[in-house]
């Protein structure tokens, strides 16, 4: 087979799926470089790395995780609105397993001592993690069953769990915000091994997702189902199983994000954990260039999309915009993204990078 010798031109760069997410990220970082002094400073403490960039990576880990799962769901032509609620469920399950005693309103002194002991947990940590992830995967399976086998529109089907999920999370903890004192659990969200520990989790989940989709046929099947599910069905692809898998994995990712989030704030706050994060995750996937109608996807581009959102949030905060106004500024940013991704801008970039002598 004859292939043209690969060479890097402007053209090949701008045609890459990563170009627009990276461009958006670069624009935000350039903004920070000018307006936020010290944004690019790093410092070390006890051999660990700190700085605004590190904060962006650490705080963005939840969105990155959700975006990885959401990418697969959106690529099948669906959407999962329930990931924020699943995060809350995961947090409640984990907290309950570690300290079921909290549910008793007046604890006898010997139990109270146990509950507030940072070295005590009722269930071993590995069991907490496994059960939590199992339950969040089951949440994802539920969504998948409704969408693939119940033939309910994804938006409606996942809305059920989005609404019910926080209620379920409250039920699990009997309406109480369970505080988590157990130290090893806090390490999940707050630990550092040179870099923040959540980053390692994101890396592992990302690699797992990449291997599942790109080293097996699953990625191809997901794209095929998302583009044309009837053709895929006629070609012998079990489109229902593929969808089920995508939703289940999305639930799993939400579970991991829920563990990190609850470990970060050291409670099971069913009302606030993962609130509106599903929308950020969807936006991240869109910024990553996956169409909402399904089809081609890039996990890396979605992760960069998540970083774009987090970098933006962080920089808005660093230039002194009050936290309550963030949503409004975010809206402006979404407009900016839409403009950047519009046909006009794309066409402009295609024109200025077009090889000489070739008309489009």
């Amino acid at each position: 087979m004859k292939t043209t010798k690969p060479f890097i031109s402007w053209r090949t760069i701008t045609e890459s799926r990563l170009f627009f997410p990276l461009l958006a990220l670069a624009i935000i970082l350039a903004f920070d470089l000018i307006f936020v002094p010290g944004f690019f400073n790093f410092s070390t403490m006890d051999g660990h790395l700190y700085g605004s960039i590190i904060d962006v990576l650490r705080n963005g880990s939840s969105i990155m995780l959700l975006a990885i799962g959401m990418t697969l769901v959106i690529a099948t032509g669906g959407v999962d609105l329930s990931v924020g609620a699943v995060m809350a469920i995961a947090a409640s399950v984990a907290a309950l397993m570690m300290n079921p005693y909290v549910l008793a309103t007046e604890l006898p002194p010997n139990l109270a001592k146990l509950v507030f002991d940072p070295h005590f947990t009722y269930s071993p940590l590995w069991l907490v993690i496994i059960v939590t992830l199992l339950i969040s995967t089951i949440c994802g399976l539920w969504n998948g069953l409704l969408v693939a086998y119940g033939r309910i529109q994804a938006m409606v089907a996942t809305l059920i769990l989005m609404i019910a999920g926080r209620g379920i999370a409250q039920l699990i903890t009997n309406g109480i915000r369970i505080q988590i004192f157990y130290d090893p659990y806090a390490f999940i969200g707050n630990g550092w091994i040179i870099l923040p520990f959540p980053l390692y989790i994101v890396t592992v989940v990302f690699l797992a997702a990449w291997i599942i989709t790109r080293r097996t046929a699953i990625g191809l099947f997901i794209e095929s189902v998302g583009i044309n599910f009837r053709s895929s069905f006629f070609s012998g692809i079990d489109e229902k199983k593929i969808k089920l898998l995508a939703y289940a994995f999305c639930g799993f990712c939400a579970g991991v994000a829920g563990l990190i989030a609850s470990s970060n704030i050291k409670t099971s706050d069913a009302n606030n954990i993962g609130l509106t994060l599903e929308l950020d995750a969807i936006l991240a996937v869109v910024i990553g260039g996956t169409l909402m109608s399904g089809g081609r996807f890039s996990l890396l581009a979605s992760v960069i999309g998540a970083l774009v959102i987090q970098a933006m949030t962080t920089s808005i905060l660093s230039i002194g915009v009050p936290a309550f106004a963030i949503q409004a500024i975010k809206g402006v940013f979404v407009i900016f993204v839409i403009v950047l991704y519009s046909d006009q801008v794309r066409g402009f970039i295609r024109r200025i990078t077009a090889p000489k002598g070739v008309t489009l």
């Binding site: 099947f221 095929s224 583009i227 044309n228 895929s232 006629f234 070609s235 012998g236 079990d238 089809g295």
Partner: protein, 527 residues
């Protein structure tokens, strides 16, 4: 010409091409006042494109439309309505949740102000806009008007009820009433109006059509039911493959000739194809690789028997809706039969699904290339390996070099013209897309290939290539079920022909080359 005066519509030299397909090529059509013109042709003949051009949905590449003696460019569907061209579509585009009266009169409601009736017709748009703010809908008059219009069509129903509460036939009548009401139509197009009607309702519709004809309305009538063509039409225009075959007086065109004109007639004698066919006739093995015994499904196809031997091509001949595609879906497993047994490679089939079927070695190249064939955003390579990969499952993933090897092999074998195996398949022409799908199924290494209209909408050269490929595959010991609307093609390609009519197997011919005989069987007793 004496008829010039009464000719209200003349389309001359209309051509229209879509990416990869020449939908219409130099087609003429004329319609006289007070005439019913039947427009017939098999699927893909270009009927609907021609109607779309006439109603302004599509704009022709070349050609002129002369309406009431004036050259006209139909800009949009609304413009067509303004010009007096109304259409009743097959799937009616009405609002099920609105009342019957609202559906008929929508946009032209009679208005009133207190007890005065207000007529907005003939006012300037700005005056109309101001008056509209003061007046409101005169429901009583509107209902009475709707009732009267429907009574003219012989339908007596409560027009205040939502349309959705009535049968499809009534809905069809409402669509006609609306088509008549909105434009005072001079030209009325019926796009397969009878496909959802029963016999009585059809008769009722024909009465209405004849009545309209008396009033001087020109009617274009599209249908697949040929006996209906003979019942109402004055003239017949036949299209085939986007070309005009001719326009004929209905009385002077026998039934059989019409079918011949619709499906094309072979002129060549012992050409290359016939030689290959005779040669491959000898390599047909005795043992069957696929046997159907009394396989059927209610509403789709009556129980049929079918034997497919190794190395044999069996053609399915029949008009559209005769059950060709239904047989294909039963054999492939996209539909599950109610009765009968299907035996593949001496084993009775229990699981009906595409995946099980592919694993059995039976594949189907579906009729609807865009909807059920290609996955348009994927590359040529990915499209080709899709079915093979599906049969291997999720985890036995073909490595990238393997994928390229397979893709390149079939690109060469089938002569697919694409810049590279990494080209998105949507950028290929229709013929090449079809070849990619064939490659997908060949790569899955099947024993039995069911090809449903594999040559539809593709150019003649590629057509012949595909026909030859089918016979070559047969020579290599594979079996084929070949389905096509073009009888000529079926005869050229098949060793044995199964004839279908009205969802029933009605005959079988071995080595038959006499079109007349097969056509008679296709047409049944009416011929």
């Amino acid at each position: 010409m004496a008829e010039t005066d009464s000719t209200i519509l003349k389309m001359t030299g209309i051509s229209k091409s879509f990416p990869g397909v020449q939908a219409l090529e130099n087609v003429d059509l004329s319609l006289k006042q007070g005439e019913i013109l039947a427009l017939v042709g098999e699927n893909g003949a270009g009927k609907s494109t021609l109607i779309k051009v006439l109603t302004g949905v599509e704009h022709p590449d070349t050609g002129t439309i002369t309406l009431f003696g004036r050259d006209t460019r139909v800009r949009s569907p609304q413009h067509a309505v303004d010009l007096g061209i109304s259409t009743v579509y097959q799937e009616n585009n009405l609002c099920m949740n609105l009342s019957v009266a609202e559906n008929i009169i929508i946009g032209r409601e009679p208005m009133r102000f207190l007890w005065w009736k207000v007529n907005l017709e003939g006012l300037s748009p700005s005056a109309r806009r101001i008056i509209r703010m003061l007046v409101y809908i005169d429901w009583q008059t509107m209902h009475a008007l709707a009732k009267k219009l429907l009574l003219e069509l012989g339908v007596d129903i409560d027009v205040t009820q939502p349309l959705g509460s009535y049968s499809v036939a009534i809905q069809q009548m409402v669509a006609i009433a609306r088509a008549l009401e909105i434009s005072n139509a001079k030209i009325l197009i019926f796009d397969e109006p009878t496909s959802s009607l029963d016999l009585d309702e059809t008769r009722q519709l024909f009465d209405v059509m004849k009545q309209l004809k008396q009033k001087g309305v020109g009617i274009v009538f599209i249908t697949h039911f040929l006996n209906q063509v003979y019942e109402v039409s004055d003239r017949i225009t036949v299209l085939r493959n986007g070309k005009l075959v001719g326009t004929y007086e209905t009385r002077q065109l026998p039934h059989l000739d019409l079918i011949a004109k619709m499906i094309g007639r072979s002129l060549s004698g012992l050409d290359e194809m016939t030689k290959i066919k005779l040669r491959t006739m000898k390599t047909i093995k005795k043992e069957p690789c696929l046997t159907a015994r009394g396989v059927g499904r209610a509403g789709a196809i009556k129980p049929f028997d079918l034997d497919l031997h190794r190395g044999e091509v069996v053609g399915l001949a029949g008009l559209l809706g005769s059950g060709r595609t239904e047989i294909a879906s039963l054999l492939y497993g996209t539909e599950t039969p109610d009765v009968g047994t299907l035996i593949v490679e001496n084993q009775a089939v229990k699981n009906f699904s595409p995946l099980d079927s592919i694993k059995r070695g039976v594949v189907l190249c579906p009729e609807d290339r865009k909807g059920e064939g290609i996955v348009d955003d994927l590359t040529v390579r990915e499209n080709i390996i899709l079915a093979l990969q599906a049969s291997r499952g999720w985890f036995r993933y073909l490595s990238t070099p393997q994928q390229y090897e397979i893709a390149e092999r079939y690109i060469k074998l089938l002569n697919i013209s694409t810049p590279s195996a990494d080209q998105a398949v949507k950028n290929l022409s229709g013929g090449n897309q079809q070849k990619v799908i064939l490659a997908r199924w060949l790569a899955a290494n099947p024993e039995v290939m069911i090809l449903d209209e594999p040559t539809r909408g593709i150019d003649v050269g590629t057509k012949t290539e595909i026909q030859k490929l089918v016979l070559t595959l047969a020579e290599e010991g594979k079996s084929c079920v070949f389905i096509s609307s073009e009888l000529e093609e079926v005869i050229r390609t098949s060793h044995r022909i199964v004839v279908l009519r009205d969802r029933e197997k009605v005959g079988e011919f071995v080595g038959e080359t006499d079109e007349q005989k097969i056509m008679k069987t296709m047409a049944g007793s009416e011929a």
